[in-house]
């Protein structure tokens, strides 16, 4: 005991002798204070300069401009909007447009990416090669170039309305966009919708019951086919029994343009095509790596305990592959959402195009506008990554 006290005493004495700024804790505090001072000084200088510059240009800072009348039209509005509404409303229109194209793009890119990723692992030599060529070509060409290609070289080179290309099912494709029949619900269609909801609820209940029964008795129940019958076949039956209460309004050529139906504008189509084709090439690589990342022994073990090929894939390989796939997949979804801001280059009225483009030019409120834009994307990223962290914790491998 005495020896230890002695040693401790000696170290303390040595520390006392060394100048205090050689002590790591003291240094850390000094470094951090210096960093804070530098950063605060930098921000102060920036804000001071900005304020001075804005005064000189007679721009009032603050968000008062949001309530002023926008006075410009937006070509695609999914929520009610006209040019007499406010800048704030225009912001919402842009945000909705961004979310719509990002949401649809994510779905399309995921489907295409999974198909191509699985095709790359195909035993069929030709299919695997084709998938490789797709990935290597698409992901090595800038997205903006692909967007220009789809918009200017493909969609803008289509014939005028009078020489439209026909799309099977009553649609038309021309330089003004894709015209599709729009569904018009008639009396009684609510019943069909309600049947779908009931079908979903019923199949969830069947799923829970089947799981409970399997746990108790080991007997399995064809949940998939039952659900399919409940969600698809039952509503279809009701639909036919009620005399098909869903009509379609078909687009028709009147004068120089089509009337009726719904139209997907070329800007929207080009952005959707470009984003999903580009992101799919990255998703394909993630899917391939995920499936290859599941060790061969897992599948062999699954077959050895008597599971069929399909079961071993569905119950053993895919759940483990998903664990590898999901984190990078999320970052691709975020990339797609951020890349949707390239809409500004082809004139699709997304958040960046409407808000950081038109509104910024009209009001000159650069600081506020850019900060809000960044804030929106940052919130989307942070919410998604918070959700993913939670999801990952649930999915993470629980080791013994």
């Amino acid at each position: 005991m005495a020896v230890i006290t002695g040693e401790e005493g000696r170290t303390r004495a040595q520390q006392a002798r060394a100048p205090f700024f050689y002590r790591p804790e003291v240094r850390q505090v000094i470094y951090q204070v210096v960093l804070v001072v530098v950063l605060v000084g930098l921000f102060y200088a920036l804000i001071d300069n900005t304020a001075a510059n804005l005064r000189k240009q007679n721009i009032a800072s603050g968000f008062g401009f949001v309530d002023r009348t926008a006075g410009f039209d937006i070509s695609q509005t999914l929520i009610d909007y006209n040019s007499s509404m406010t800048y704030g409303r225009a912001f919402l229109v842009g945000l909705v447009n961004t979310l719509v194209v990002a949401g649809l793009g994510i779905v399309a890119a995921t489907v295409l990416g999974f198909v191509i990723g699985i095709a790359r692992l195909s035993h069929n030599w030709l299919i695997a090669r084709l998938a490789t060529v797709y990935v290597e070509v698409i992901r090595n060409i800038p997205l903006l170039l692909q967007l220009f290609f789809w918009y200017f070289a493909v969609l803008k080179a289509l014939p005028p309305p009078r020489q439209s290309l026909t799309v099977p099912g009553g649609g038309f494709l021309n330089v003004r966009g894709l015209y599709l029949p729009s569904p018009v619900p008639e009396a009684g269609f609510e019943v069909v919708l309600a049947t779908i909801l009931i079908g979903v609820a019923a199949s969830l209940a069947v799923g829970l019951w089947a799981r409970w029964r399997q746990r108790l008795t080991g007997q399995q129940f064809p949940v998939f086919w039952t659900s399919l019958a409940l969600i698809v076949a039952l509503p279809l039956l009701v639909h036919v029994l009620l005399g098909s209460p869903l009509a379609f309004e078909y687009p028709e050529l009147k004068g120089f343009n089509f009337q009726g139906g719904m139209v997907l504008q070329p800007e929207f189509l080009a952005l959707l095509l470009g984003l999903s084709v580009y992101t799919a090439s990255f998703i394909a690589e993630i899917v391939r790596a995920g499936i290859q990342g599941v060790s061969k022994g897992q599948k062999e073990a699954a077959l050895a305990i008597g599971l069929t090929q399909g079961q071993s894939l569905r119950l053993v390989v895919i759940p483990q592959a998903m664990r590898i796939i999901i984190p990078p997949l999320t970052s691709q979804f975020l990339n797609l959402t951020k890349n949707s801001s390239l809409a500004v280059a082809i004139g699709y009225p997304d958040l960046v195009s409407v808000w950081s483009g038109t509104v910024l030019n009209q009001t000159g409120q650069a600081v506020e506008v850019i900060l809000v834009t960044m804030g929106v994307f940052l919130s989307i990223s942070l919410i998604t990554s918070a959700f993913m962290n939670w999801f990952n914790r649930r999915m993470a491998l629980v080791e013994r």
């Binding site: 510059n53 030709l126 994307f377 942070l382």
Partner: protein
């Protein structure tokens, strides 16, 4: 005897070939019905794409002409004279014709430095690196901008085409390197404020699109500076791109730092090295070598993203192609398509080459681990 003949007739057919082209086709293309259907579909798709490309790019293409009128006939394919006429613009932008040798010289000097640096077998890597990272940038700066040593000063507003693409990408990655390393070290620091600042910067930049960063650099940066101070549009874009890629690079380098065993840090500490010595002499050389593929991938991403500078009014390769597509002298239905195909091909060559290189490095590094 009777039994013998029975046996003879029951002899199985010889086994199928397992080698040779026919067996290869059977096992790789026609192993089952569904596989055969896929093969037929794949063949059809390949035929469509390849024949379409040949039809458009060769058979119906125009190869000579002085303006767009030669490409306006019905069913015309690629308009190649557009590319040959505009080729110099695509490469140099509006860089004065008499001074373009300077750009070529920079390319030659860059290749002379990069090729031996990238081939692992060539000795003298240290001096080679000094040349590429210290001497070459200085020479390139004076050659491109001029205004000294009797060279005419060329305003950056005249730069364009592939020159801008390469300048933005290389300066962007080189400029982001020091900040990226600092941020990566900061994120792993024990000092809470340093860590928060690094994490905050990295997550902020990674959470927003490059466009908004470029908008900020082009619209907000002039506001941040004292009144009267302005600077070059290209420089503004370079600052934006460097800050942006620094955040991504920091994450790549952090991956490398995390892969270095604790023992290396501890051994360096035990030798009495200071923090700077520990990181500069022991940890970073190993960590950076480990993440060369990641750095190359970041560079590929940055190279593709340089095309975004056209949104803030700079003319990189894509920007200049887009500008020339609108040239009324070359107006024809296929001009735009031809221009994009050309630009896509140039971008593709660079990116594909770099990704192949990074895969080779990855294999070499992995080979070291396998020993």
């Amino acid at each position: 005897m009777v039994a013998d003949t029975d046996v003879a007739t029951e002899v199985e057919a010889p086994p199928r070939n397992t080698v040779g082209p026919i067996a290869w086709i059977r096992s790789n293309l026609l192993s089952s019905w569904s596989n055969a259907v896929l093969t037929v579909l794949g063949l059809y798709l390949t035929y469509q794409v390849v024949s379409g490309l040949i039809h458009w790019g060769l058979l119906t293409a125009t190869f000579t002409g002085a303006d767009g009128s030669v490409c306006t006939r019905e069913g015309a394919g690629a308009c190649w004279p557009f590319i040959t006429a505009k080729f110099a613009q695509f490469m140099y932008g509006r860089y004065p014709e008499t001074e373009r040798w300077r750009v070529d010289l920079v390319y030659i000097l860059a290749i002379a430095g990069l090729v031996p640096l990238m081939i692992p077998r060539v000795p003298g890597k240290f001096w080679n690196a000094i040349y590429v990272f210290v001497i070459f940038p200085v020479i390139a700066f004076f050659l491109l901008i001029g205004g000294a040593f009797g060279l005419l000063r060329i305003d950056t507003a005249l730069w364009g085409g592939l020159l801008v693409t390469l300048v933005v990408a290389t300066v962007g990655i080189a400029g982001s390197f020091p900040l990226g390393i600092l941020l990566a070290l900061g994120r792993r620091s024990k000092m809470p404020i340093v860590r928060w600042v690094s994490v905050g910067f990295i997550e902020f930049v990674r959470g927003v699109p490059l466009i908004t960063v470029l908008f900020m650099a082009s619209v907000m940066l002039p506001l941040f500076l004292p009144p009267g101070v302005t600077f070059d549009k290209l420089l503004r874009a370079l600052i934006g791109v460097s800050l942006f890629s620094a955040a991504y690079l920091a994450e790549v380098i952090r991956g490398g730092l995390q892969a270095i065993p604790r023992g290396q840090f501890e051994a360096a500490e035990a030798l009495g090295l200071s923090y700077g010595q520990r990181m500069g002499l022991i940890v970073l050389p190993q960590a950076l070598k480990l993440v060369i593929p990641g750095i190359v991938n970041t560079f590929i991403g940055l190279f593709k993203d340089t095309s975004l500078v056209l949104i803030i009014g700079l003319f990189d390769l894509l920007g200049i192609v887009q500008l020339n597509n609108a040239d009324s002298k070359w107006f024809s239905p296929t001009t735009a398509m031809t221009g994009y195909v050309f630009a896509a091909f140039v971008f593709w060559i660079f990116c594909f080459g770099m990704s192949r290189y990074s895969q080779m490095i990855e294999r070499r590094l992995a080979a070291g681990d396998r020993r």
